[in-house]
């Protein structure tokens, strides 16, 4: 494995340097040692950040730690669930990331020593860093809904991390007979991809309408409002009348417990037994953020809005779904935009400068049908220690737009996915 070779050689060099230092060689001998940045997590945030760092300064030593050899993207995975797209279209490797000069360590990061500035990998290797970037995405909380643990997820898929779970939900929908009940349980805020459950409802309804038109879909929601709400509700009325029902928190939509043996979702107001149950549980920052001391008692990571440096763990930066980014939603676009801003800030810090306040953009498309796109956009800047919406900017697609407008947004959604995945992995 290339990584072992490179790291052991680096370790050797470091030992050599220490020995030389003991012999009191003048300091300038070390001036050529490039700063080391370790990035944990190879998704839209981490892979973008690693590549941008190398782009800004090819001499930086950048290591991307990512356990999986293949990344399976969440955006557009609802199309896979609806049978509109193969899972292969969601999958990307790290060859081009490695070819851009980033050392890719296909290992799990299991430890962070913020004082010694080292990351421990599952195979025992220790990676020293000057700056660490955490982009671990989310962990699903298998302790939040009574009865919903990892074993239950094999019966009642969350499909909130793309891959096997996506395919499982797809298979269950295919196997369901016409007239069946599909239930989606949506969590309270904050969670990955705020409009995701509602796009999923649309695209599953699209599949049902086409193939199993007597079926029904109920969304049991732990909240009373949601992203792009009016647009989604209009689309349900317009495209899937009498098929989609949304049950809000105040109508008794919050799922408290599940029974995987009977595929039952339990709320304060009653039980719903589904043919297909998609349970999206509450979430928190990926586990390594907790290990590194970067997550607070909410389970998420407070950051400086200029540098993305953790408010509790110095020299550790957190980007993407795991961080508390104020007004910025947990989206792939946000993670990518944050990654590029964070990389700039880190390069500036490493060269002794002080990073300028960034401005960030988020654009997030959802599909109500393959040719019916809607979007939310926002512009953000640091304000009162958070990333705040720039007033007067952003917002959702117009409620009264004609169908050709929706068709154009659906096309832009496709183009966005092609462009962003090419920037990150291509």
């Amino acid at each position: 494995m290339g990584i072992h070779h490179r790291i052991s050689r680096r370790d050797f060099c470091r030992t050599g340097a220490a020995a030389v230092a003991t012999a009191a060689l003048p300091l300038p001998a070390f001036a050529q040692v490039a700063p080391r940045v370790v990035v944990i997590g190879g998704g839209f945030g981490g892979a973008s950040c690693a590549r941008t760092l190398k782009q800004i300064d090819p001499k930086l030593q950048v290591t991307l730690v990512e356990q999986s050899k293949t990344f399976t993207a969440c955006p557009f995975s609802n199309n896979v669930i609806a049978g509109l797209r193969g899972i292969e279209a969601q999958q990307f490797g790290y060859d081009k990331v490695a070819a851009s000069g980033v050392t890719v360590a296909a290992q799990a990061a299991t430890a962070v020593d913020a004082t010694a500035r080292t990351v421990g990998l599952a195979d025992g290797i220790s990676l020293p860093y000057d700056r660490l970037v955490l982009s671990p995405g989310v962990d699903l909380r298998f302790d939040a809904l009574q009865g919903y643990d990892e074993a239950a997820a094999a019966k009642m898929p969350h499909a909130w991390k793309a891959g096997e779970q996506t395919l499982l939900l797809r298979k269950q929908l295919e196997a369901m007979e016409d007239g069946g009940l599909v239930v989606i349980a949506a969590p309270a805020n904050p969670y990955r991809c705020p409009p995701g459950p509602y796009e999923r409802a649309c695209l599953i309804a699209y599949y049902l309408k086409t193939k199993k038109p007597r079926s029904k879909l109920i969304i049991l929601d732990a909240k009373d409002t949601f992203s792009k709400q009016r647009l989604f509700q209009n689309a349900w009325k317009e495209l899937y009348p009498d098929m989609v029902e949304w049950v809000s928190l105040s109508q008794g939509g919050k799922v408290n417990a599940v029974d995987p043996a009977t595929n039952t979702l339990i709320t304060d107001f009653g039980n719903h037994t589904a043919k297909v149950a998609n349970v999206i549980p509450p979430q928190r920052a990926g586990r390594i953020a907790m290990i590194a001391g970067a997550a607070d008692n909410t389970g998420w990571c407070a950051i400086d809005p200029v540098t993305f440096e953790s408010k509790s763990a110095p020299n550790i930066h957190v980007i993407g779904d795991a961080c508390i980014a104020g007004g910025m939603p947990k989206s792939a676009f946000s993670a990518n935009a944050q990654a590029k801003a964070c990389a700039r800030a880190i390069a500036t810090l490493l060269s002794g400068g002080s990073p300028a306040a960034p401005k960030l953009i988020n654009t997030c498309y959802s599909l109500a049908a393959p040719d019916y796109g809607i979007s939310v956009a926002g512009v953000y800047q640091p304000k009162n220690g958070l990333l705040a919406d720039v007033e007067g900017a952003g917002g959702v697609s117009p409620a009264d737009a004609p169908r050709d407008f929706r068709a154009r947004e659906a096309e832009y959604a496709q183009n966005w996915f092609a462009t962003i995945t090419a920037e990150v992995f291509g």
Partner: protein
């Protein structure tokens, strides 16, 4: 040993200089554009912005902002930037290959 390593790392970082960085520093907001606007081959209906005439980009942003240029999403994004910010972004984008 650990303390020595940290000292060496600190010395290495302090001695690190990057004169190139300041010259190519993108203005606030500029690096977000490539989330949708490809920096590679423009194969989609979303135009490539790298290398594009700065005047054209700034003019389009002004049009999106005041509503004279119809758009699906750029009207919402352009309102987050002043004319001066847009012109700085446009100039940086024009200078990229």
């Amino acid at each position: 040993m650990k303390a020595l390593r940290v000292a060496i790392a600190a010395a290495a970082v302090t001695a690190w200089h990057q004169p190139l960085l300041a010259a190519s520093d993108p203005p606030p907001g500029a690096v977000s554009c490539s989330g949708c606007h490809s920096t590679g081959t423009a194969s989609s209906s979303i135009p490539r912005l790298y290398g594009r005439d700065a005047g054209d980009t700034a003019k389009a942003m002004a049009g999106f902002r005041d509503g004279s240029l119809p758009a699906t999403v750029m009207n919402r994004i352009a309102k987050g930037f002043t004319d001066e910010e847009s012109r700085a972004i446009a100039a940086w984008l024009a200078a990229q290959k």
